[in-house]
C-alpha cells in the first residue's frame, strides 16, 4: 500500500455554503505534498476534515487505507497523523518545555498515567530536548509560551506537532508571519524531520513550496484543479489562470 492519505469525493458544507466541493486526492507515502490556492479556497478546512477536527458532509478520508471519516481527532493522531494549525494553537500558560513534552507524551506510551512522574521518564525528556534543539528554542525552555514572540510561538506550534514522531505530518502555513531568515530555518527543520515521513503542507511562500514539495495540489474554491510535480504545476495553464497576477507568476 503506497498511499498515506486518500480522499474520495470529499465534501463539506457550512449551512448553505459548500466550502469543499468534492475533493479527490491521493497522497503517497513518503512524499512531501504541498497544497496551494488562494485565500479562502478551503485549504485549512481540508486539513480540519482530514485530522478529524471537522466531520465531512459526505465522502471519505482514508489513512493508510483505513477509513477515518468520523473518527475522533485524538484517535486519528494515534493512528499516526499529527497536524499543526494556521492560527497558533499552543498551551499558553505552560512553559516551552512542557508544551513540547505534552506533544511527546502519547508517543512514550504514558496514557493517562497518574503514578509515574514525568521528570523521571528518560525517553520523553530526551525526546523533548531533541525537539527543542531542532526548533531552536533550547535557551527559552523555561519561558511561558504566552510570553514568547510570534515567530517563536510558530516554531513551538511546529515543535508540538513533531514531538510525537507521527508518520504523517500536516503543517498549515507553518512559516506564515516569519521573517526570511526564520522561514529558511523552519524549512530546513521541516525538511530534516520529514526525511522518511509523509508531509502535507499548506504554504503561501512559493519559494518554499517549489523548494520543498515533491508534488503540488492546487485548490481553488473547494476543488482541486491540478495535482502534479512542481515543474508541471508551474507550466499548467489552469493554474496560471487561477493565480493570474498573484505571487505564483512572479515567483515562478
Amino acid at each position: 500500500m503506497s498511499t498515506a492519505i486518500s480522499l474520495s469525493d470529499l465534501k463539506k458544507s457550512f449551512g448553505q455554503m459548500e466550502i469543499i466541493r468534492g475533493v479527490n486526492l491521493d497522497i503517497r507515502k513518503g512524499e512531501r505534498h504541498a497544497i496551494i490556492g488562494p485565500n479562502g479556497a478551503g485549504k485549512s478546512t481540508l486539513f480540519h476534515l482530514i485530522s478529524g477536527h471537522y466531520q465531512p458532509t459526505s465522502g471519505k478520508v482514508l489513512l493508510n487505507g483505513e477509513d477515518i471519516s468520523g473518527v475522533m481527532p485524538h484517535e486519528i493522531y494515534r493512528k499516526g497523523l499529527a497536524r499543526s494549525f494556521q492560527v497558533t494553537n499552543i498551551f499558553p500558560n505552560l512553559n516551552v518545555y512542557e508544551n513540547i513534552r505534552c506533544g511527546a507524551l502519547w508517543s512514550c506510551d504514558q496514557g493517562y498515567s497518574f503514578w509515574r512522574q514525568v521528570d523521571d521518564l528518560e525517553d520523553i525528556n530526551l525526546k523533548t530536548e531533541q525537539i527543542l534543539e531542532k526548533i531552536n528554542l533550547t535557551h527559552r525552555y523555561k519561558v511561558s509560551a504566552s510570553l514568547m514572540s510570534y515567530a517563536e510561538q510558530r516554531a513551538l506550534e511546529i515543535g508540538i506537532t513533531l514531538a510525537g514522531g507521527a508518520q504523517v505530518i500536516m503543517l498549515d502555513e507553518p512559516t506564515a508571519g516569519m521573517s526570511i531568515g526564520e522561514t529558511e530555518q523552519a524549512v530546513e527543520l521541516i525538511r530534516s524531520v520529514t526525511e522518511d515521513k509523509t508531509l502535507v503542507i499548506v504554504e503561501h511562500d512559493m519559494g518554499v513550496v517549489f523548494d520543498l514539495a515533491d508534488r503540488i495540489s492546487v485548490l481553488v474554491y473547494g476543488k482541486i484543479i491540478a495535482t502534479d510535480s512542481p515543474s508541471a504545476i508551474r507550466s499548467n495553464k489552469l493554474v496560471q489562470e487561477a493565480y493570474l497576477g498573484t505571487e505564483m507568476i512572479s515567483d515562478a
Binding site: S51, G52, H53, M72, P73, H74, Y77, R78, A82, R83, F85, N89, I90, F91, P92, N93, L94, N95, Y97, E98, R101, C102, G103, L105, W106, S107, Q110, G111, Y112, S113, F114, W115, R116, Q117, V118, D119, N125, L126, E129, Q130, L132, E133, T138, Y141, K142, V143, S144, S146, L147, I160, T161, A163, G164
Partner: protein, 435 residues
Amino acid sequence: MSHLTRICRAESVVRKKRLRILWLCFAVILLALPLVTSNFGITILTQICVASVFALAYNMLLGQGGMLSFGHAVYFGLGGYASIHLMELVGNGVPVPLVLTPLFGGLFGLIAAFLIGSFSTRRAGTVFAMISFGIAELVAASAIILVSFFGGEEGVSSDRTMGPAFFGYEMIPQIEVYYFAAVWFFLATYAMYHFSRSPAGRLANAVRDNAERTQFIGYNPQKIRLVSFVASGFFAGVAGGIFAIQYEIVTDSNLNTAASGLVMLQAYIGGIGYFVGPVIGAIVMTLLNTVVSGVTDLWLLYTGLLFIGTVLLAPNGLTGLIMMHTDAYHNRKLATLIKPYLLGMLPLTAAFIGVVSLLEMFSHRNEAAVGDDSMLLFYIDVDISTWFPWVGFTLLSLLGLAGLRVVIPVVRASWDAANEMQILSNSTINNESDS
C-alpha cells in the same frame, strides 16, 4: 548528552533535593505544632488539616484542570457520610482499624465522582460549572429526604472510640485525633503533589490551557478531565473521612452549596495558580472561621471583604503575594524591602483599625440592647453614645487611606528596584506555578 539535557538533569537533581527538604520540614512542622498550642489550638489545627486536604483536592479541578465546580462539597460530604456508616459498622464488630476511615471515605468520593464526572466533564467552562451546581442542589435535597443514609436534618453520627485500638492508639484525646489528621494530611498532600507531576497532572494543565489542542496530541480532553475529577473526588472524600472521625457527625451542611462555596473561597484566596495556595487559603479561612468568629459577629463580612480584596488586588491569591518576592530573593534584595514594607504597614494598620472599628460600632449600635453603649475595640473601652469614637475612627480611617496613597508608590518603587536585573523575571514567576 546535550547541553540542555545536562542543565535539566542538574536542575532536576536540585529540585528533588529541595523538595525532600520541604517535605521533611512539612512533616516536622505538623509533628511539632501541637507542642506550641492549647487544646483549642489543637482542634483548630485538626480543622486546618481537613480544610487543607479538601481545598487541595478542589484545586486539582480549578487550578490544575480549569474546571470551576460549585458543588465539590458533595464528594467531601458523601465521603463523610460513608465514613460515619463505616464507624457504626466497626462499632458493631466489623474488624476494620478506624485510622483507615479516610481511605474508605475517599473510595466513596471516588465512585461518586466517577458516576457524576462521566457526564459532567464532557464540557468545561460554564456547562461544567452549572452541572456541578445542579448536582450539588440535588444531593443536598436528597440528604434531607433519604433518611436511611443521610439521617435527615440531624445528619448521622457515630463514635470513633468504639473500634479496636490501632497499635494502642484509640483516638480518644484530641491530640491523637490531630496526629491522625496530620498523617492523612501529609499523605494526601504528597499523593496530590505526585499526581500534579504525573502525565495525567500535566495533561490536566494542558487541557485547562487549550482543550482543543490536546486532541491533536493524542488525548481525549474529556477523559483527562475525568481522571482529574475522579482523583479530586477521592481526595475530597478522604477529607470527609478525616472530618467524620474528628466530629463524629456529618450533616447536610457538610455537602450543601454553602460548603462548596467555602472551599472555592479558600482555594481562590490562597491562590489557585500554586500547589500550596489552597493550604494557605484553608489556614486563613479556618482561622477567620474559628478565632475571629469568636471575637466578632462580623467575621463573615470580613471573609467576604477578604475575598473581594483578593479578587481585585491580588488575583494570584495570598500565595501570589508571597511568590512576587522570588526575584527579589534571587537578587538578594529582600532586605531592601523591609523598611518600605514597615512604612506601608503604618497607614495600612491605621486604616484597618479605623474601618474595622467603625463597622463594629455600627454593628454594636444595631444589635446590642438599648443603653448598652460600651464596647471593647482593640483593647480600648469605647462609649459609642458619645461622638468621640465615631469622629476619631473616621479620622483614623481617612488618615490611613491618605497615608496609603502616599506610601504605595514608594513601596512599589522599592519593589521594582529589588526585582530589577532579571529581565526574564516575569516568565520565571509564571512557569513556577506549573512546574
